[in-house]
Amino acid sequence: MRITCPLCGTRDRREFTWQGDALAIHRPARDAGPEAWDNYIHLRENPAGKTRDLWYHDPCGTWAVAERDTVTHAVHSTTLVTEVPR
């Protein structure tokens, strides 16, 4: 599997650490309530198909969001997490 670091280019998957769904970007406010926090910390979709998840390119220290497909394994795009619209 190969993933494109937005800075370094396309690299072998061994250079990356996977973190999970990109909804981790949207951290609730302190007082958002238990349901929002439960969603944020624990609840994840398990899609057969398109997914957005967070990857860390270990050698360069960059976090990126990958849009990919869990069925075909295609990676459609990767974006610097700092440049993802919030």
Binding site: R2, R27, R30, I41
Partner: protein, 974 residues
């Protein structure tokens, strides 16, 4: 026998080799199989289950039968295919799976009881009484199972792994592959042409035909010469592409040194990344399942031609041919032309057109064969009756199966093509890969050449490159005609999977017992589960299953071919990971000095740290450890703490950032001061702890534990980039920049001052102070922090000076009655003081559990704060950190032991908690432990029972505060 004037080895140097202790002569370029056949050796191995005598079936990597051991001792490699192993002077090969020898194999008794060992045998044994399984079946199966055996010795020979990149990977160097490589290369692409054979050319080396008006082998050599001369082409022979993976990644196994004496790398496992690929893997000929079709001397017709035309060897002196297609006729013609006696050509088709100077039996079938250790005769039933023909080699052809294997590696299912009675790849099965030639079901040379050009053109186009115009060489263009023939009924076993001894009857039995799905049939019969992975037998087995279940073949399906295409040795796959390559070794700057003092090293992550520093007269580690603890408590000790993570945090928002990642507050920390910090995960549990010093208004340096340094760095990057990208902060690891040493004990200040250009005192440099210092003119950093409970400092210098400073400090310490201390003493010192490590913050404990809940500031938001307030994480009933002292000071405590009420039975439901850290405290002259105990903080003074079920230890302990020593901290402030 060698046929004079035939083959491509004419003039090759002679080679001596040994098989089963007998010396033979072969030629340079021979495989073990061709050389043995040249010496009229037909018996090469025994089958897996019934120990049936077997010879060679094929001439390639798909060989199921002729598996041998090559080499001796630790260098021995089992299950080597004799059809692939090149001979070299001195090579020592031996047959396998027989005792005492190949001709008289005791376990061939299995063959006599074969009725009991048919399909589903293994599964059925599970249903019989347990005593039978343990007493009879298991020992029997273990004794009988397996082909070759490993030496049991460590394999010291080098293996490689390597990475390669190209635009176009061409797999296979037959007519299609050669033209694809040539087209791609002339089109300007970076090309890798890989072929598993030692010599490139594929079937062109095995046939007597002309390409472009030249003998095929000459034409091949010309094309290869052109490719060799191109800077954008890399030819990789002896390299089997073993797997197709995501995004253009391929695995490939190169036999680097297996064709010579053992020096240098043996094999190399390649990871090839290609933007596009052409699969030109060719096709494999399938046997026909007729009665007793497994005798040594019976092989595929294409293999017979290959032995004759490439290696100049006739596998027999009186050869018969049995086929259902025109291609088989070539074998008869080539043999006859070479002067080998053809004893008969049997074609199952009544309307087959054959002419030749040999007996022809159309509409014929072989209904019996004879010959215990090698074929002696066959019985043919044909239009004119039945007759017995004397023959020592039978060439059979049931048709050709395209090598679709790689196209299945990403879940692609091949499609049934009735014209060839076989499967072809489904288009697009591997993104970026185009299949060409006979792998695509095209069987004429001309068709393959043209298809190679087409496929490469298609790949070039997909890469945005222009395909060059390539002239199609002239070559034979015969149509391939066959009539399916899966089985010839009759008395005797009709073998399908020659290695796993699966017969037609087994397939039918599986269907009868309702294992009708192809995947069930495979597992029930072990069909296709041998080292050839069903390459020779799957299609026929499937056709028979379809027949037995009354379905068509496409409806019955196909088994899934998975990587690797050929067996890959673990040594090759794990190359680079053996011995020192397993993990990097991290050495501190003081490593050499500690080593010289005889300190045994302990691994902490990748780091090597000294356990203790033995002195003369000390008999055990504990003697040394006790002395080092006492030394620190009484005078001064020095310990390298460079392994702790050190992270520089700078920027206008550095303080805000730290307030967010730590549960407690750092924005209020004055410049020149250090504070202990607790870091939580977002789920409210403790991630890590450590001290952070404020070096300037916008500059902090954080320390992490040794174990979590990498994790914390990633976490900080996560917070800075994912959660708080608006903060202006830069995070840089400085772990390696600084060598840092702990100086602990009542005399620590004197020792530190001996190193510093300007002395420090308690007033100017109190507990938890930090600042810049000069160490002999070298700018360094000084921190007044303690992990021992003693007055202590940590002094840091640029790493280049670390080794030197350590030697100076340990020498100075010794002159003061102190010295170096290791990890064992460090651990005792921290347990005595009740300081936690990852033994306590192991991922399931909260700040509340370790008694630090007041460190979770509610005045600001921080990672993990909200979750740490959750119901259930703040309850008194939780297991809380406590100290344990045995009632009898010398009674044993063990980490991992569980705690129970004094009178309660030591069973799970009565579990009260568990022990995390233990030590003997020379300071308090007792064993000590840290533990998590339900409602622990309210139970100080209570007596509790420690039970270690594994080590059979029971100890009564008093529950106490985890800080055993100096709870007021007077020593710290010194």
């Amino acid at each position: 026998m060698r046929v004079a004037g035939k083959g491509l080895l004419t003039g090759a140097a002679p080679v001596s080799f040994t098989f089963d202790g007998t010396s033979y002569q072969g030629l340079q370029g021979d495989t073990l199989a061709s050389a043995l056949l040249a010496n009229d050796v037909r018996l090469m191995g025994r089958s897996f289950k019934y120990h049936r005598p077997r010879g060679v079936l094929t001439a390639g990597s798909e060989e199921p039968s002729a598996l041998v051991r090559v080499g001796k001792g630790s260098q021995a490699v089992p299950n080597v295919r004799a059809t692939q192993q090149e001979i070299f002077d001195g090579i020592d090969a031996a047959s396998q799976n027989r005792w005492p020898n190949l001709k008289y194999d005791v376990l061939s008794v299995n063959d006599l009881i074969s009725p009991f060992l048919s399909a589903g045998f293994y599964y059925k044994t599970f249903m019989w009484p347990r005593a039978f399984w343990e007493g009879l079946y298991e020992p029997f199966i273990r004794r009988a199972a397996g082909l070759g055996a490993l030496s049991g010795e460590s394999n010291a020979e080098p293996y490689e792994k390597a990475f390669a990149f190209c635009d176009v990977l061409v797999i296979g160097s037959g007519p299609a592959g050669l033209m694809a490589a040539l087209t791609a290369a002339r089109g300007g692409a970076d090309v890798i042409l890989a072929d598993e054979d030692s010599r490139m050319g594929g079937r062109l080396l095995a046939e007597t035909e002309a390409v472009d008006g030249k003998p095929a082998a000459h034409w091949t050599a010309d094309i290869l010469n052109e490719l060799k001369g191109m800077p954008n082409v890399r030819l990789m022979n002896r390299t089997t592409v073993t797997g197709a993976y995501d995004h253009g990644t391929f695995g490939a196994l190169e036999r680097v040194g297996l064709h010579g004496p053992a020096d240098g790398p043996r094999e190399c496992f390649w990871r090839i990344v290609a933007r596009g690929a052409v699969l030109a893997a060719g096709a494999l000929e399938r046997p026909i399942a007729f009665p007793d079709n497994d005798r040594p001397g019976i092989m595929t017709a294409g293999a017979v031609r290959a032995y004759l035309n490439r290696w100049g060897v006739s596998p027999g002196r009186e050869v018969t041919i049995f086929g259902n297609n025109d291609d088989a006729h070539r074998t008869a013609r080539d043999l006859a032309d070479a002067g080998v006696r053809v004893a008969g050509l049997i074609d199952s088709r009544a309307d087959a057109k054959v002419t030749g100077d040999f007996p022809v039996f159309t509409g014929g079938k072989i209904i019996a064969t004879r010959g215990r250790l090698g074929l002696e005769n066959i019985t043919v039933e044909h239009e004119g009756g039945t007759r017995i023909i004397r023959t020592d080699c039978l060439a059979m052809s049931g048709g050709w199966n395209p090598s679709v294997h790689l196209t299945c590696h990403m879940n692609g299912r091949p499609e049934w093509k009735p014209e060839i009675a076989s499967f072809i790849p489904r288009p697009g099965a591997i993104p970026g890969m185009v299949v060409a030639g006979s792998a695509q079901g095209i069987f004429s040379t001309s068709g393959c050449l043209a298809d190679g050009i087409r496929a490469a053109g298609k790949v070039l186009q997909s890469l945005g490159m222009k395909a060059p115009t390539i002239e199609l060489p002239t070559a034979e263009d015969q149509t391939y005609a066959l009539e399916p023939l899966w089985v010839v009924e009759g008395k005797g076993r009709k073998w399908l999977d020659f290695q796993n001894d699966v017969t037609v009857r087994d397939i039918r039995l599986a269907a009868q017992e309702n294992f009708r799905s192809v995947e069930h049939m495979k597992r029930y019969t072990t069909q296709g589960m041998a080292t050839d992975q069903g390459k020779n037998s799957n299609v026929a087995a499937l056709a028979l299953l379809a027949d037995a279940t009354g379905r068509g073949i496409p409806e019955t399906g196909t088994t899934t071919f998975r990587p690797p295409y050929v067996p890959v040795s673990i040594a090759a796959m794990g190359a680079g990971g053996q011995g020192m390559g397993f993990a990097p070794q991290r050495f501190t700057t003081s490593h050499q000095a500690s080593h010289e003092r005889g300190a045994p090293m302990i691994e902490a992550g990748y780091w090597y740290r000294p356990s203790y520093f033995p002195r003369p007269g000390e008999k055990t580690w504990l003697d040394s450890c006790n002395r080092e603890v006492n030394m620190v408590r009484a005078s001064v000790g020095v310990c390298d703490v460079s392994t702790l993570g050190k992270i520089d945090i700078q920027g206008h928002d550095a303080a805000t950032f730290l307030d967010f990642v730590y549960s407690n507050t750092f924005s209020t920390l004055p410049v020149g001061r250090v504070r202990y910090g607790l870091m939580l995960r977002e789920d409210g549990h403790v991630m890590d702890d450590g001290t952070t010093a404020r070096l300037g208004d916008n500059h902090y340096v954080m320390t992490t534990t040794t174990a979590a340094a990498g994790l914390v760095m990633r976490h900080l990057d996560f917070v800075a980039q994912v959660l708080r990208p608006e903060l202006d902060v830069q995070i840089v690891s400085v772990t390696e920049q600084w060598a840092q040493f702990s100086v602990a004990g009542p005399k620590s200040r004197d020792l530190v001052n001996a190193m510093l250009d300007n002395h420090v005192d308690d007033a100017s440099f109190p507990y938890m102070a930090c600042g810049s210092v000069n160490v002999s003119g070298v700018p360094g950093r000084l921190f007044r922090i303690s992990f021992s409970g003693e007055q202590a400092y940590e002094i840091a210098v640029p790493a280049r000076f670390g080794g030197s400073l350590y030697r100076l400090m340990t020498a100075q310490a010794e002159s003061m009655g102190g010295g170096p201390y290791g990890m064992e003493a460090l651990n005792v010192l921290r347990i005595e003081k009740g300081f936690i490590t990852h033994a306590e913050i192991h991922g399931r404990t909260t700040a509340f559990d370790i008694g630090m809940d007041r460190m979770v500031s509610l005045k600001k938001d921080c990672i993990g704060q909200t979750a740490s307030r959750r119901e259930g994480l703040l309850e008194d009933t939780r297991e809380q950190l406590v100290g344990l002292r045995p009632i009898a000071a010398e009674a044993k405590l063990t980490a991992g032991a569980h705690l129970f009420d004094k009178e309660a039975e030591a069973i799970r439901v009565n579990d009260q908690g568990y022990v995390t850290s233990v030590c003997y405290s020379p300071t308090l002259k007792t064993n000590l432990g840290l533990a998590f105990l339900k409602r622990g903080r309210a139970r100080h003074g209570e007596v509790i029972r420690l039970v270690d079920h594994l080590r059979k230890i029971e100890t009564l302990c008093e529950v106490c505060d985890p800080v055993f020593l100096d709870p007021e901290g007077e020593r710290l402030r010194g």
